[in-house]
């Protein structure tokens, strides 16, 4: 096909698209076009808004579920990280507190059990990993 014919085809298709654009150029134009086609626009809009609201709620629920799943997987990674850390023979809590700036969380360290320390560290690394993940997604 010659370039000239190609252009003629594009010009014609443009005209075809313009018709659809014109029929939907404004809310009023769209309403007039749809009513000329026998569509009950009031019903269309009221049912459409209900559908959108339902879809929005489903989308929000799906997003929340995905976020929760993501948080769970980050927490699992943090648990593994902390358990490896605590199991390391060279582990030093004071060094970690200094490195991770955790002095506030461990200000009463003498009153904390092993489980308390583990839980504080898991919470800290979960938050840290989540922040890292959020920053890398931006």
């Amino acid at each position: 096909m010659s370039k000239k014919t190609n252009q003629s085809k594009s010009d014609f298709v443009n005209l075809f698209i313009s018709t659809a654009e014109n029929d939907s150029s404004s809310k009023e134009a769209a309403k007039a076009f749809l009513e000329s086609e026998g569509v009950n626009t009031e019903k269309l809009v009221s049912e459409g808004l209900k559908k959108i609201k339902k879809m929005q709620m489903l989308a929000d629920a799906k997003r929340t579920e995905n976020e929760m799943q993501a948080a769970e997987s980050v927490k699992s990674a943090a648990i593994e990280w902390v358990d490896n850390l605590l199991g390391d023979m060279n582990f030093s809590l004071p060094e970690l507190v200094q490195k991770e700036e955790l002095s506030m969380s461990f200000r009463n360290v003498e009153n904390l059990s092993q489980d308390d320390i583990r839980n504080i560290l898991i919470r800290h690394f979960t938050l840290k990993f989540m922040n890292q993940q959020n920053n890398s997604e931006k």
Binding site: F12, S24, A29, G48, I52
Partner: protein
Amino acid sequence: MSTDPGSQTHIDWEDIILRLIAFTRSWVRGKPWFRGEKTTTFLMGKEVEDYVFAAIGRFLDQPEKFDPAKGELLEYLEYNLVRSFIANDLRKKENNQTDDIFADDEDDDNESSSSYSERVLPYTEALFPDDIDYNAIKEYIEKEVQGDTDAENIFLGIYTYGMKRREVIEEFTMTAVAFDNAMRRLNTVINRTANHFNKNNQTV
């Protein structure tokens, strides 16, 4: 951006519903013009509205895919609808006209830098066969609108210069009402032309 249907200050869903359905119905109605077929099999047994709300649903699921720098939300949705129809068309056995150049462009959304409205053209072009004498069509329409100044100007503006509605109104200093009336007359001519040139000479 809020996507809450109740949050009308951000997204006017009533406007989107009406305009998107009008656009799609109009686009779909013209589709079989030169296909030499009466079927609308590309709808796969569904209604136009089903596709419209599916497109809105996809946006609500992944609003981050919409890039406002590339056009308005309505244009984004129109572009996605046109893509869906073309994708359906490619899957239909009876289709022997649509070019398959878009078969593998799943990532078109992310990769293309052109605006959504610009991207509607190549997809729509795929519906129209190449073995039609488009120059003859042009001449036929020109002859048919002769004497109707507004329709002639609209045809000239859109066909020859690729103008949009607002540009035609400004360029030829016509009112919006005059444009709409003349566009209706031009559409009647285009429909007549389509029937004249259609392979099966059928009414659509």
